[in-house]
């Protein structure tokens, strides 16, 4: 059976496979962004697509983030299914006007007349020594905005499958791809396809503590969970996947079972997604808690270049293990 066949692949290839599939399935789909064509994509996610689909559908843009993002909105309004690629989340700040003032508002502001069926993909996060203008995790910031949906693909399945589902969504969807994950190798079902984009995913079951994370921190949590398991602490691990609208039911159900929650978020702590999740647990599961909700976030500094400093700024496995151990054992 095809479903049982698994193929070796990488995150980057999974993204490319998702793009290729969408371009093949719907002729209204096209990709535009900086260096998506001739260069093959900054992270090689669109390598080869220009040759296969031509310059009409794989469009290299000038370095005009605001305008090619706005053009994506306009093209969506005009009946196309654009995929806008913004090289990194830091560059997306140049397109904030279009994302926040237009994409997120048009449906509501027009009284339901104009939905913006647009997908915007971008790389996010640190871990590659790219310093303070290429390494931040601002997806939690976008998750503050009503009117857009925010996804973060941590797994090969999601890297492959979130795109098609996002393209079917009538509203603007931003897909975040942690740049540190592009070279990640793994196995993917040969017939892997679209995945649902409304729920978080339970990665591992446990009874002692719930780890809530997303993106590249998921793997740090998995490593931490292995270490903790060896010590007899069974952690439940949730990959949020959807940062807006939050699937709170999944983490609330888990907290009801484990009575302890630790959130691992690569964003800065103040005003973070971790803060939002913590508040929701406090509001809705307070009496189920045996310990205060805790958070591990990035240090509140612009990301430094030097390796040891960057590592110190980002959430790390050891800190997750120590915190979880203290929360369970006291």
């Amino acid at each position: 059976m095809m479903g049982e066949q698994r193929l070796k692949t990488t995150y980057q290839e999974a993204v490319r496979s998702g793009l290729r599939d969408a371009l093949l399935r719907d002729e209204r789909v096209f990709l535009m962004g900086e260096d998506v064509g001739c260069y093959g994509g900054c992270f090689a996610a669109s390598k080869g697509l220009l040759d296969e689909f031509g310059p009409e559908r794989i469009r290299d843009t000038p370095l005009s983030e605001s305008t090619f993002t706005g053009a994506g909105i306009g093209a969506a309004l005009g009946g196309m299914r654009p995929i806008v690629e913004i090289m990194t989340v830091n560059f997306s700040l140049l397109a904030l006007d279009q994302i926040v003032n237009n994409a997120a508002t048009y449906l509501h502001m027009s009284g339901g007349q104009f939905n913006v069926q647009l997908v915007i993909r971008m790389a996010t996060g640190g871990g590659k020594q790219l310093a303070a203008q290429h390494s931040h995790s601002l997806e939690g910031w976008y998750a503050h905005i009503p009117g857009i949906k925010i996804l973060c693909a941590a797994t090969l399945e999601d890297a492959r499958g979130m795109l098609w589902s996002a393209l079917q969504d009538p509203d603007p969807v931003l897909i975040f791809e942690p740049s540190v994950l592009y070279p990640m190798e793994g196995e993917l079902a040969a017939d892997a396809g679209a995945v649902a984009i409304d729920r978080a995913r339970l990665h591992r079951q446990g009874k002692d503590l719930t780890l809530i994370s997303y993106g590249s921190c998921l793997y740090k949590c998995l490593d931490a969970a292995d270490t903790l398991a060896a010590e007899g602490i069974e952690t439940e691990l949730i990959d949020l996947r959807v940062l807006r609208p939050l699937d709170e039911q999944t983490f609330l159900t888990s907290v009801e079972k484990t009575h302890r929650a630790l959130i691992v978020d690569e964003g800065w702590r103040s005003g973070s997604l971790a803060a939002e999740i913590s508040a929701r647990i406090m509001e809705q599961a307070f009496y189920n808690l045996d310990a205060p909700v805790e958070r591990i976030c990035s240090a509140e500094v612009p990301m430094p270049y030097a390796k040891h400093m960057e590592e110190a700024a980002l959430p790390q496995v050891e800190e997750i293990v120590k915190t979880a151990r203290r929360m369970v054992r006291g």
Binding site: F30, A75, M80, D97, Q98, M109, G112, Q113, D171
Partner: protein, 323 residues
């Protein structure tokens, strides 16, 4: 339509906008309309002239000073006025107000209140037309203040680079809110901005509706023929303050009075009278018809309901479950 009927039609359209906005200002004073209200009075020849040149299938992206564009494109006064009242029968259910008139039926994509914010969207609409082989144009109106925005330059470049059917209409009324063009731009010959992108440009007297309509028709024809965008500057002037809160410290009464001598409505009606194409009696009749249309729109707005508060979160997402 013969020439006489055509010019009478233009006069009628400009007068409809003028009287609609005069009534809006009055209703603002009565606090029936709140928020910001940016009047187009003095600039009517631009929206009316441009609209004459567009086909029904063409798209229009406008700014927060867009009552004239909405009416010229065919939006009925009832839903336009009710929108400013904030009533559920407004074109956007009272969600947008004066600055955000949207109309799917007439392909009006806002009402954008971020200066320059509509230009990239116009480029995208034109891109969709090009990719789907639809032989139509997207018109994007913006003030000369937008020329200072990065989005203006990005959008002009991309439209020219990708050869997209966009008619960029710069409504140059000389002031970006209170900042005179001469105080904000190092190069005030705006058509030269288009030169920088290899885009054909023209400048026209924006107080002359016939000239605007002719220039816009020629521009549209060129866009359709060549597939290239076009930049059309319409030199105009707003007779009223920027918004209802503007004490107008930045310009002299004398300057305003001088421009009022070029009132596009007065100019055209004088011309029509000269030709013997309209009598005082006919003009009065026209005014009475427009007054009745406005009275009906106001009545409609007064009678209309407010949107139920339970609808507050509707249309944040298309799927109500997503909220």
């Amino acid at each position: 339509m013969n020439e006489q009927e055509y010019q009478l039609h233009l006069l009628r359209q400009m007068l409809r906008i003028r009287r609609f906005e005069e009534k809006s200002a009055e209703l603002y004073s009565l606090t029936k309309i709140r928020g910001f209200l940016h009047l187009y009075i003095g600039e009517e020849a631009v929206a009316v002239g441009i609209s004459e040149a567009l086909s029904a299938a063409d798209a229009l992206v406008a700014t927060y000073r867009e009552h004239g564009h909405a009416i010229a494109r065919g939006m009925a006064m009832g839903p336009a006025m009710a929108e400013m009242y904030g009533k559920v029968t407004g074109c956007c259910r009272g969600r947008g107000g004066s600055m955000h008139l949207f109309d799917a039926q007439h392909r009006l994509y806002g009402g954008n209140a971020i200066v320059g914010g509509g230009l990239p969207i116009a480029v995208g609409l034109a891109l969709a037309d090009r990719m789907q082989q639809r032989n139509q144009v997207t018109c994007c109106c913006f003030g000369e203040g937008a020329v200072a925005e990065g989005e203006f330059h990005e959008a002009m470049n991309l439209a020219a680079l990708w050869q997209l059917p966009v008619l960029f209409v710069c409504e140059n009324n000389l002031y970006a809110m209170g900042t005179a063009l001469i105080r904000s731009e190092s190069m005030i010959e705006l058509t030269r901005k288009a030169d920088a992108y290899g885009m054909t440009a023209a400048s026209v007297d924006g107080m002359d509706v016939l000239a605007v309509a002719n220039a816009a028709r020629a521009a549209r024809e060129q866009i359709i023929t060549t597939g290239m965008p076009f930049f059309l500057e319409c030199k105009t002037y707003r007779f009223r303050p920027h918004s209802m809160f503007d004490p107008e410290l930045y310009r002299s009464q004398q300057e305003v009075d001088q421009w009022r001598q070029h009132d596009p409505i007065q100019t055209l009606s004088d011309k029509l009278k000269e030709h013997g194409w309209i009598t005082e009696q006919k003009l009065n009749q026209l005014e009475a018809e427009i007054a009745a249309e406005i009275a009906e729109a106001v009545d409609f707005s007064e009678q209309s309901d407010w949107e139920a508060v339970s609808e507050l979160t509707r249309f944040v997402y298309s799927d109500p479950e997503a909220q």
